[in-house]
């Protein structure tokens, strides 16, 4: 009897230890695709809420992804209002869009570049166009740099990022970002449904981008509005984690970790920043630092994962930006869930 028990236990253990060879995961990733967007100028009106560096962010991200084997489709609006597609200046300018409907779904005053600009329609069409191309073992990465907003007038608050033609002038001459022509998590979730691979990665360098993260079981002890100082695990973290476990995957908003891994520059309730000192959005700058030369390869296995890239960018912000910008601190966030994806 004793011998039989010992033999059975050893057999179970041996079977588990040897089971690596049972699974065939040949290779790392078959093909890698990226859609990269940036909006520096939203309007030719010099009083508009234009930015300085999203086109630099998009250009640099495109380059680092291409150098690591990605097939990149890109659209960005530069600091002169010109639209670029796939890294080439079309010399087609945007206009000064003025809303003609209360929800911003229509406008006048667009420019010659509107048809190829990184608008919501073009972003969703780009995703749709990849549906027949991206295979089940491929990677699809979407990057956006520009404005992002939280609509706190609804419950729960909703966050979205602002492509071109979502920040519009109204008849009074004021600029607003309108939800309808903006991109919500639901818009991405719907578009992603046609993409066969589960390896989808969304990187957002926008304010309030943490709202795109729909963590279902995890409690994030970095608050949605980081105010500096140490964030620690406390009784609230335990309580939230248990509550999430009891409710079993009921995140009301955001992309499920099974829909996409989201790396956001900012928390749901906070802004993030760009600075001439770095020539980029702050998060993108440190992300690029990690991706260029694979410095984010924390475990030195020759590959960079989404989590490693996040960790590198977060460490850079914590070490260099937050201590020196007490009024403008922010923290990147990342999706939960058990799975991490290889970037390259």
């Amino acid at each position: 009897m004793r011998r039989a028990i010992r033999r059975a236990a050893l057999a179970v253990l041996a079977a588990l230890l040897c089971s690596c060879s049972m699974f065939d995961y040949s290779g790392i990733v078959t093909h890698k695709y990226a859609l990269v967007y940036g909006v520096t100028w939203y309007t030719m009106d010099t009083n508009g809420p234009n930015l300085q560096f999203p086109h630099m962010d998009a250009s640099a991200i495109s380059a680092v992804l291409q150098s690591n084997g990605y097939t990149v489709t890109s659209r960005w609006v530069d600091g002169a209002g010109d639209v670029w597609t796939d890294g080439t200046d079309t010399h087609l300018p945007i206009g000064t869009p003025v809303a003609t409907s209360p929800d911003g779904s229509s406008y006048i005053g667009g420019g010659a570049g509107d048809g190829v600009a990184p608008s919501k329609a073009n972003i969703l069409v780009d995703i749709q166009n990849l549906a027949g191309t991206v295979g089940p073992n491929d990677v699809l990465l979407i990057y956006f740099s520009g404005h992002g907003t939280q609509d706190a007038s609804v419950t729960p608050p909703r966050e979205y990022f602002d492509p071109y033609a979502s920040v519009l002038k109204d008849s009074s001459g004021n600029f607003y970002d309108y939800p309808v022509p903006s991109v919500l998590d639901n818009d991405l979730a719907t578009a992603f449904a046609a993409i066969k691979t589960p390896r989808k990665i969304v990187i957002l360098d926008t304010c309030n981008s943490g709202g795109f993260i729909g963590n279902q079981l995890e409690a994030d002890w970095t608050p949605p509005a980081y105010l500096g100082g140490a964030s620690l695990v406390g009784p609230e973290t335990l309580s939230q984690a248990i509550s999430n476990y009891a409710s079993m995957q009921s995140s009301p908003t955001g992309l499920s970790p099974y829909g996409a891994q989201v790396l956001s520059a900012a928390g749901r309730d906070e802004s993030c920043y760009e600075t001439p000192t770095l020539g980029h959005g702050v998060m993108t700058y440190y992300l690029l630092q990690g991706l260029q030369g694979s410095r984010a390869d924390i475990n030195h296995d020759g590959h960079v994962t989404v989590l490693e890239a996040f960790s590198y960018a977060k460490a850079g912000i914590d070490a260099n930006w937050n201590p020196n910008n007490s009024g403008s601190t922010f923290e990147p966030h990342i999706s939960g869930g058990p799975v991490d994806f290889v970037l390259f």
């Binding site: 004793r2 028990i5 236990a9 179970v12 253990l13 588990l16 230890l17 089971s19 690596c20 699974f23 995961y25 040949s26 290779g27 790392i28 990733v29 078959t30 073992n137 990677v139 589960p198 390896r199 963590n215 279902q216 079981l217 995890e218 409690a219 994030d220 002890w221 970095t222 964030s231 695990v233 973290t237 335990l238 939230q240 984690a241 248990i242 999430n244 476990y245 079993m248 995957q249 970790p257 099974y258 924390i298 475990n299 296995d301 590959h303 994962t305 989590l307 490693e308 996040f310 960790s311 990342i334 939960g336 869930g337 058990p338 799975v339 991490d340 994806f341 290889v342």
Partner: protein, 167 residues
């Protein structure tokens, strides 16, 4: 009261992804309450870590570390005794743990329950009357909401110090 360490291998599969192995380890501080001659209740405070899986297929299961509280009912019987070597007992246990780990490199904490079973071999050396040494083979099922399944096994080594002189 006892101290123990365990090396584990966990096989997990996430929704839409295949199974992979993750290796880990942990330690425990045990508080043992004898119930009768054959059974005892073991409550433990544990720390553990599970390393990420490999990256084959372009994905990996994240590593995580955390703490757990557990309770196990153990039953055993003496199967060998030697005046010079001491007493050996074999037995098994059933229990449950509540775990609160967080994923490596993140501030994301999660919770799960873990039913456990264990086979063990105890040695009470004749020359060390207050000590038990235990070799165990635990098997655990992690009831994680974010995994299709997650099971682990391993090998544990522990030492138990018994207060008092009753045996």
């Amino acid at each position: 009261m006892g101290l123990g360490g365990t090396g584990t291998v966990t096989m997990s599969a996430g929704q839409g992804f295949g199974p992979k192995l993750q290796y880990g380890g942990g330690f425990a501080i045990d508080f043992v309450f004898p119930l009768d001659k054959w059974t005892r209740l073991v409550t433990s405070i544990e720390g553990f870590t599970v390393a990420p899986s490999d990256i084959s297929g372009g994905f990996l299961y994240r590593g995580y570390s955390g703490a757990a509280l557990s309770m196990m009912l153990q039953a055993g019987a003496v199967f060998a005794f030697s005046p010079s070597l001491g007493l050996m007992r074999v037995g098994g246990g059933l229990g449950v743990a509540a775990a609160l780990p967080s994923y490596w490199y993140t501030t994301l904490a999660f919770f799960y329950l873990e039913p456990r079973a264990q086979a063990f071999l105890d040695w009470e050396p004749a020359g060390l009357p207050h000590f038990d040494f235990q070799l165990s083979v635990p098997v655990a099922l992690q009831l994680r909401g974010d995994m299709s399944y997650s099971v682990s096994t391993g090998i544990g080594l522990g030492v138990l110090y018994r207060f008092g002189n009753d045996k």
